[in-house]
């Protein structure tokens, strides 16, 4: 077990959060076609409120802090927030589109000791990338930002969200990442909008393309191992929990709402009304999330993939039941191994999603 995994295990045993994803704004200078956010400002936390939350997070032991949005640089106090976070000795990762990063901003991020910057790139071709962001010239500006950040010696990674409209450019983005000397990650997950609108799910890549991705040696490493049939799950698997959401990690919105994860819109409290630690320890919603073990999942516990599936409880929740299957992950398990999931065999695969639950302020 790596040192990092050991510390995660320790945080789990102690019941402490070790990672927080903090969206400091939903405002953005791009209008990406697949984005799930409402970009209007409905009363973001002030600089002082965010500083107070950061102090609380440091006090309870949070180490990894992802600052994201929206576009983080839309906040005029962005560097003040990063400075405060670094004074509190967080390991800070910044997620941005890079459009507003010039030499000066890159130098400041380096000076503040940001550990990593993740930048969204959808294509190596401006006509494709800019059509997705709806901001003319955005690819050029994003690539320029990556060069500035690299010249400062910062660790940069490109995040490539895959959709039907940019799927064929995936190899081009990998080549671009190589040319720029940065890491490349891809994500085929498209989630419904915060208002429950599922129309953007039509942007998802079809199953055959998911299969293509999962059978690419370059992307998955040891393909035989990655695509191997799932082993028979042991008792340890059935007693395990799905992911770190609510266990050692959580998400905080610009309005102070706390959720188990950015992809798990279950309102669990609000740091404007309660102390973070009180929410973490006593929120009934987080306690419910923590109580769920693989054996408690009615369909998934009977599935051959139960031990290896990337089942997202947040996406399952959005589909109507946090103990149910996440059909996007059923599809991934199937495309990876060729073995249908229990949910697919039950005939639910491909059905229309039920009523979607929306992000709302915690009561």
């Amino acid at each position: 077990m790596s040192l990092l995994a050991e510390m995660n295990q320790k945080a789990l045993t102690l019941g402490l959060p070790i990672s927080v994803h903090f969206d400091i704004t939903y405002r953005c200078n791009e209008r990406c076609v697949h984005c799930y956010l409402d970009h209007d400002d409905h009363g973001e936390m002030t600089t002082a409120e965010i500083a107070d939350v950061l102090t609380q997070l440091a006090d309870v032991g949070v180490f990894f802090l992802s600052l994201s949005g929206g576009e983080v640089l839309m906040r005029r106090d962005f560097f003040e927030i990063v400075e405060r976070a670094r004074q509190l000795l967080f390991n800070v990762k910044v997620k941005t589109n890079g459009v507003m990063i010039h030499e000066k901003e890159a130098a400041r991020l380096r000076q503040l000791g940001v550990e990593q910057v993740q930048i969204s790139v959808y294509s190596h071709r401006p006509q494709v990338h800019d059509a997705i962001t709806k901001l003319p010239g955005s690819l050029k500006r994003t690539i320029r930002a990556i060069r500035f950040l690299k010249s400062q010696g910062l660790k940069v990674s490109i995040a490539n969200v895959l959709m039907a409209r940019n799927f064929s450019d995936q190899a081009g983005v990998i080549t671009l990442a190589r040319e720029l000397g940065v890491a490349y990650t891809l994500d085929p997950t498209i989630t419904p909008r915060m208002d429950g609108d599922t129309s953007i799910l039509a942007l998802r890549i079809p199953g055959s393309d998911v299969k293509h991705v999962f059978h690419s040696q370059e992307l998955v490493g040891n393909m035989e191992e990655f695509c191997a049939p799932p082993p028979v799950p042991g008792e340890d698997i059935m007693e395990g929990f799905p992911c770190s959401a609510g266990h050692t990690a959580c998400y905080i919105s610009p309005y102070g709402d706390v959720f188990p994860c950015v992809q798990f819109p279950l309102p669990s409290g609000n740091v404007r009304r309660q102390k973070f630690l009180e929410i973490w320890r006593h929120s009934p919603q987080l306690q419910e999330v923590r109580s769920i073990r693989a054996r408690d999942l009615p369909t998934c516990s009977t599935c051959a993939h139960v031990g290896t599936c990337t089942r997202c409880p947040g996406l399952a929740y959005v589909e109507g039941n946090m103990r149910g299957p996440s059909t996007a992950d059923c599809e991934k398990s199937f495309q990876r191994t060729g073995i249908p999931s229990a949910n697919m065999l039950a005939g639910a695969h491909g059905s229309t999603m039920g009523q979607l639950i929306q992000i709302q302020a915690a009561g």
Partner: protein, 99 residues
């Protein structure tokens, strides 16, 4: 032997978790965990107190360790962390820097 003064670098992330200090270099992402004794040295690294005084006045007082052995262990620990830029070492007092 010349005195050593140690200070925590500003290019690190750190957090105490269940008695162990997690430290990561933001420059090269090297990740360390420090046990209780190492954590105590780390927390006392104010740039002004000589290492020998930290060991004699804090480590030997708080932990049941032999002073000579503790000095040797502390020197090795400081060397290792300084190689990763996590601790700054000087034969003169240092000012702690913040981001």
């Amino acid at each position: 032997m010349a005195e050593k003064y140690i200070a925590r670098s500003s290019a690190i992330a750190a957090r105490l978790l269940g008695g162990e200090m997690m430290v990561m270099s933001t420059a090269d992402s090297t990740f360390f965990t420090l046990d209780e004794v190492a954590s105590a040295i780390w927390q006392a690294a104010d740039g002004r107190t000589p290492l020998s005084e930290i060991v004699a006045g804090k480590i030997c007082q708080e932990f049941d360790v032999d002073r000579e052995q503790a000095q040797r262990d502390a020197a090795r620990f400081v060397d290792e962390l300084s190689q990763h830029g996590i601790l700054l070492v000087s034969d003169q007092p240092l000012m702690e820097s913040s981001p």
